[in-house]
Symmetry: C2
Subunit: 375 residues, 2 copies
């Protein structure tokens, strides 16, 4: 028995009432909204073999793993920092035989090694959906629509979608705006750092208008359309315009065609989601590819939402109608009230009282009667 108070490690916390219930309610609502769009639930485990998980994690996430010593397998397990990669594994293995498009949903806790200033928590609740077998514009519109609908169901308003074109620079460099591999890498670095001045020194002035175009989507598209005759860019802008049209009036949309941070594993489209009054990014997604065991690559589009910023902003809290059940009441009457959505608080002894139990009603016979607050 310890006698020290309950200290928790950095980045891990208790959720107390009413936030804990709100978190549960919001996750449930989000996952139900996703499911109604035909996404079937999968539930991968909290931990996997480190090698297997790292192999499927993209970008920086492989360096962000909490590792577990497993005496049974004599191997290192890693706690999942993300569920997307696990859903991809399931799609590529146990559900490889299922017809495409395959729609998968998931929701649960993830654990990270590190905290960041923006996200001081190391345990987060992630929910998401993956549309396996397509990375078309229609797929992007469906996936973004499901994400927005799920957030709306959770009570998020003033939704903003920041669109990015993650592989645009590489695509342009390989074609209409040629760059050698070495120069591409330096240009990519300068673009990631938003260091526009350095681009001229790299003889990459042609890329400057892409950086300058970033912002609200309509003027951004107008600026980019002015860059004549780049077919691949026009194609991407057509797709962006279709997306914008699909969500007119439902979300504010911006475009940053060169932004790539956190989208290193996305292909032609990436997006971040924000909500009014909510801290930081509340979701992200885009198109990507899943690698099968036989080397085949499969296109996919998906998104993840984070429930915690919603909870932290007070969403999902609902007052309960609490009725005090005095000693000797009919248990069936209390059960009937619970069936109608009441919360019943049973007296355990003569000293229990409705005020201490935070009840505004008292069961009288079979009816909840309102209590007068003390003057």
């Amino acid at each position: 028995m310890t006698t020290t108070p309950g200290l928790l490690p950095v980045g891990l916390r208790d959720r107390l009432p009413p936030q804990a219930e709100a978190a549960s309610r919001l996750l449930h609502r989000v996952i139900v909204a996703i499911g109604r769009n035909g996404y079937e639930r999968v539930a991968p485990p909290l931990a996997e073999f480190e090698d297997e998980l790292v192999g499927r994690l993209k970008s920086a996430r492989a360096h962000d793993l909490l590792r577990v010593v497993d005496p049974i397998s004599q191997k290192t397990l890693a706690l999942r920092p993300d569920i997307t990669a696990q859903a991809g594994r399931i799609a590529a293995t146990r559900m490889a035989h299922r017809p495409r498009p395959l729609r998968l949903a998931y929701g649960g806790p993830v654990l990270k090694l590190k905290t960041t200033q923006l996200r001081p928590e190391r345990e987060l609740t992630q929910a998401g959906a993956e549309l396996i077998g397509s990375d078309s514009v229609a797929a992007a519109i469906e996936v973004l629509g499901v994400a927005i609908e799920a957030l709306e169901t959770a009570g998020v308003t003033g939704i903003t979608v920041d669109l990015t074109l993650p592989d645009l620079i590489e695509t342009l460099a390989a074609g209409p705006m040629p760059l050698t591999a070495a120069r591409l890498e330096r240009v990519r670095e300068r673009l990631d750092a938003k260091d526009v001045g350095a681009l001229a020194g790299l003889e990459a002035q042609a890329y400057l208008p892409l950086v300058a175009a970033a912002g609200p989507v309509a003027p951004a598209i107008a600026k980019l359309r002015a860059l004549d005759g780049i077919a691949v860019l026009c194609q991407r802008l057509d797709a962006v315009e279709q997306i914008v049209a699909a969500f007119a009036g439902r979300a504010t949309i911006t475009l940053d065609p060169t932004e790539r941070q956190g989208f290193e594993y996305q292909s032609w489209i990436g997006f971040s989601l924000f909500g009014e009054g909510l801290s930081g990014e509340i979701g992200r997604g885009g198109s990507y590819t899943i690698l099968h065991a036989d080397g085949r690559e499969e296109p996919a589009t998906g998104f993840s939402l984070y429930i915690d910023p919603l909870v932290d902003a007070g969403l999902g809290q609902e007052p309960s109608r609490r009725v005090f059940v005095p000693l000797g009441s009919d248990p069936a009457a209390a059960a009937a009230l619970r069936g109608e959505g009441w919360t019943t608080i049973a007296a355990l002894s003569e000293t229990d009282d409705p005020a201490q139990a935070n009840c505004a009603y008292i069961l009288t016979g079979t009816t909840p009667e309102p209590l007068q607050p003390s003057p």
Copy 2:
């Protein structure tokens, strides 16, 4: 990128459709049912400092921990094998100031180091409730009632409650049926092993009728009542009879007055829950004490339920009404159907079809029309 198929460590598994959705639905139902009884949700983290967690874990569980190396704190973290101890920590620290009785609920994954033949899974979903501040007979009846109601909500039928009196032997040994500490330990061992023959050799014949009484509760009580004049035993039997009366017709009840395995940290009452057609124990609970930082002990009564055996038995699966949404349909019509509980599957291209999408309906205008199955 790995090219090996997605092997998982022993005891960890993917839940696929439809079990994954059933697991989520059952957990939600159980936690809502518990909440309707006034138990407020808390959500402790998946991992804590090992020292802190071990200090609050009772019995064998402290040896059943998956440990995590945490480079940030330079300490060892342990993944929770159980949420009860965490709820106790919260009650004793962050919610120590809240009036009693304090009712807390929780639900989420737990991880164990070892598998057993009965429970080959190392990740389980646990839900539960703790009534802090009372270990009275009324508390036991409330807690058992909430557990049974939650299981009924999840679709469990034919519920059996196995009652035990975990500290009875120690109580009798210290009073009416005296045993020295050394002999008590040996008697306890023989009782745990159900090795009745050895009890006579230990001059503990007086304890034999307790072993013989185990079984259906009515004859068990009758046999124990025949042991004249042991006040503490009579007191316990009075309590058991009150419990039995509270659940008459709702559950089958047995009594094993000397059973203690897995109840090492329970005080006067312990119970295991079983359901018709379900594999093994589906829940357990009882009375216990919580240690506060100032050394004060507080009585409590609670239970835990395990969702996995319910899922494995097929509970919680519900067919969805799937409607195919052809290209060019009105998105608002599909959204309205989702609002009514339909699952909509949107066509992404001309080649998508309702049969492949497993839909029995097709959206026609704003109405779902049934599809004729192919002959």
